[in-house]
């Protein structure tokens, strides 16, 4: 276990649309609650992505920042090096699409992604906006995924990734699945503070780099999860 957990937030100047900071704050809090000190680095899109981080986060954004973000990440190479070293990554919404081989630009034109996930994305017919609930791949042993999605993307998963979950309510990837994972990378359309609604997902990311984590008081997390799932799941 590292003496200090380093959290790297990639390009908050470009890709931080609506509550993405929440994922950073939740990781910090859950590490702190286990006595693990944290250090968070906000990486501007004009700066190199550090290669020595432990957990990386990338958030959502509009079409143009998404394209700029993908270009800069490809050129930079720091994130690739970090992943090869064994760092964990949570990629959200526009950031999720960027991790694939290709995604749709402003006019639906194909734009090259960074190729860290075997997925390809395009634009769907209509915007998916609303609460989402999904059953997580049993191999991960996590409770129901809950959150909010707001995107027009449709994502096809290749053989190199596994679906993160199967949707019960909501659109997700557009084929009955939501998100994906491969190695220590998790991608999801649940935007903003996905980890606030899914603390077990936060612990999965942390545990990948710190080893097994003791349980902590999840009272407020659980209260919010229960309320949201009650509100959206069929009785």
């Amino acid at each position: 276990m590292p003496s200090e957990l380093s959290i790297v937030w990639i390009y908050p100047d470009l890709l931080s649309t609506y509550g993405d900071q929440g994922n950073v704050l939740v990781l910090e809090q859950r590490a702190r609650a286990r006595g693990i000190p944290t250090r968070t680095i906000h990486v501007r899109s004009s700066d190199p992505v550090p290669q020595q981080g432990d957990v990386y986060l990338i958030g959502g954004g509009e079409d143009r920042p998404q394209i700029l973000g993908a270009e800069r990440l490809r050129r930079d190479g720091g994130l690739h090096a970090a992943i090869q070293r064994g760092a964990a990554l949570l990629a959200v919404c526009a950031g999720y699409q960027i991790m694939g081989t290709v995604f749709g630009g402003e006019e639906g034109q194909p734009v090259s992604g960074v190729g860290l996930l075997d997925i390809s994305s395009g634009r769907g017919e209509r915007r998916a906006v609303g609460e989402l609930a999904a059953d997580v791949d049993p191999a991960l042993g996590l409770p129901t995924l809950t959150g909010f999605e707001n995107h027009m993307g449709v994502t096809r998963l290749g053989p190199g990734v596994r679906p993160l979950s199967r949707t019960v309510v909501g659109t997700g990837n557009g084929d009955g699945t939501e998100g994906c994972y491969a190695g220590r990378i998790i991608g999801t359309y649940l935007h903003g503070p996905a980890l606030a609604r899914n603390p077990a997902l936060a612990d999965l990311l942390l545990g990948w780099v710190t080893g097994p984590l003791p349980a902590i008081d999840d009272g407020w997390y659980q209260a919010l999860r229960d309320e949201r799932l009650r509100a959206v799941l069929p009785a």
Partner: protein, 424 residues
């Protein structure tokens, strides 16, 4: 003003009747239904009602209603002013506002950001005031860069005189295609939506990056310069400057604002209002006393009394608005926070995570509203102690008599106003 054609007169009269009925039956304040009836009968009604008036359109993410009120108060020095004072800021509300003051030579209309191009096109307004753009209700609102681009297209090739806040890079970009712009350095506290150049996407060099965007130091807040590192886009030289409690006019004369409305955001709104007033020939010496008469706007900043408790009501609808509300709230007082996620609020509460609540540490914090559990978790993660309350009434009862600040988002605010009979 000139006579309306007969059909427009009829449409306008029937619209007013519908508005009166709406008010009389208690269904609303009438400003939307009246306009809808009028527009249905005469689609060109807004154009006809706007003709031959000196018209000001006011748009922004935050401060539209208040700035509209401030400009209206100032212009009343010159004559009658038609205005949509109740925040009905789409074309039906504009029709209703103009139809109810047909003889007024001036009009001041609050305009929803998305509707600005359409309303500008229809009304051919001579003056457009633009204050700020930031993330707001992402589940239903347009993305803001796209919005600024639409403003650019709408303003290009028109004679409208734009009064714009040059401390907001996105507003500057949105305004800079206009034929004539008066720049007001009105400040920008929330900078999380403007770290990148709207023109080329390059990094903007400016103060305050990397602290989660919040609680800028006084020095960072005062440093409003910005420039793109990669292209030539930079902050224009301001004609008007807000400097703390003062506004400096284009002649270099300093005016102490002394508003009754609290907070830096309202001083920024007032600076814009003074610039607009001068464009219409009203100098600050005559406009300012009028601005000082404004005490509350549609319930915002009002103090209400209940069983020995004086509750000051602050509205905050998005992260930038919450930072401005924190600027107004008194650190020595207990505070009630109420959050809903109904349609008008946005059904997505993610924005709570963009607000830095740590500033509330050390004061009694009570949390209520329909989405109080979202806020509870947010505060718990920020290590801000709080007490959860099932209702606003319960939160008030928990606190001892005395002064209390209240911050609520849109429908939560309206619910609280309703509890006090909308008498505020």
């Amino acid at each position: 003003m000139s006579q309306l054609p007969l059909r427009a007169q009829l449409a306008s009269a029937l619209g007013r009747t519908a508005a009166t009925l709406s008010r009389a039956t208690g269904r609303g304040d009438g400003s939307v239904i009246g306009g809808r009836v009028g527009l249905m009968l005469e689609p060109d009604l807004l154009r006809k009602l706007a003709a031959d008036r000196k018209l000001v359109l006011v748009s922004a993410t935050n401060g539209k209603t208040t700035t509209t009120r401030l400009i209206t108060s100032a212009l009343q020095e010159l004559g009658d002013v038609a205005t949509n004072a109740f925040g009905a800021n789409m074309p039906a509300g504009h029709v209703s506002a103009l139809a109810s003051s047909k003889g007024a030579p001036y009009g001041v209309l609050e305009v929803d950001e998305k509707y600005l191009p359409e309303v500008l096109d229809t009304t051919e307004a001579g003056i457009v005031a633009l204050m700020n753009l930031s993330r707001d209700q992402m589940d239903r609102a347009a993305e803001i860069w796209l919005l600024a681009q639409k403003w650019r297209r709408a303003l290009a090739g028109r004679p409208a005189h734009v009064i714009a806040n040059c401390d907001d890079p996105l507003v500057t970009w949105g305004a800079s295609t206009a034929a004539r712009v008066t720049w007001v350095a009105a400040g920008q506290r929330w900078r999380e939506d403007s770290w990148c150049c709207p023109e080329c996407g390059g990094p903007l060099d400016r103060a305050g990056f990397g602290n989660g965007g919040q609680n800028l130091t006084a020095a960072q807040l005062a440093d409003t310069s910005w420039a793109c590192r990669e292209c030539t886009f930079h902050r224009p030289e301001p004609n008007w400057v807000l400097d703390g409690e003062d506004v400096i006019d284009p002649r270099g004369q300093r005016w102490r604002l002394d508003l009754q409305l609290p907070g830096q955001a309202n001083r920024a709104n007032a600076a814009v209002a003074l610039a607009v007033a001068e464009t219409l020939g009203l100098d600050p010496g005559r406009a300012l006393p009028r601005l000082r008469t404004v005490t509350s706007v549609a319930g915002r900043y009002t103090t209400v009394e209940r069983e020995g408790r004086s509750l000051r009501l602050l509205l905050a609808k998005n992260p930038a608005g919450w930072l401005e509300a924190f600027d107004v709230a008194d650190p020595a007082l207990p505070i009630i926070l109420s959050v809903n996620a109904q349609g008008p609020d946005g059904r997505d509460t993610s924005w709570l995570w963009d607000v830095d609540y740590r500033i509330l540490r050390g004061r009694p914090v009570l949390v209520t509203g329909e989405r109080r559990l979202d806020l509870a978790l947010r505060l718990a993660v920020a290590e801000v102690p709080f007490q959860l309350c099932d209702s606003f009434e319960q939160a008030v009862a928990v606190l001892a008599p005395g002064k209390i600040d209240v911050i609520a988002n849109y429908t939560a605010f309206q619910q609280i106003r309703a509890e006090f009979g909308r008498a505020v």
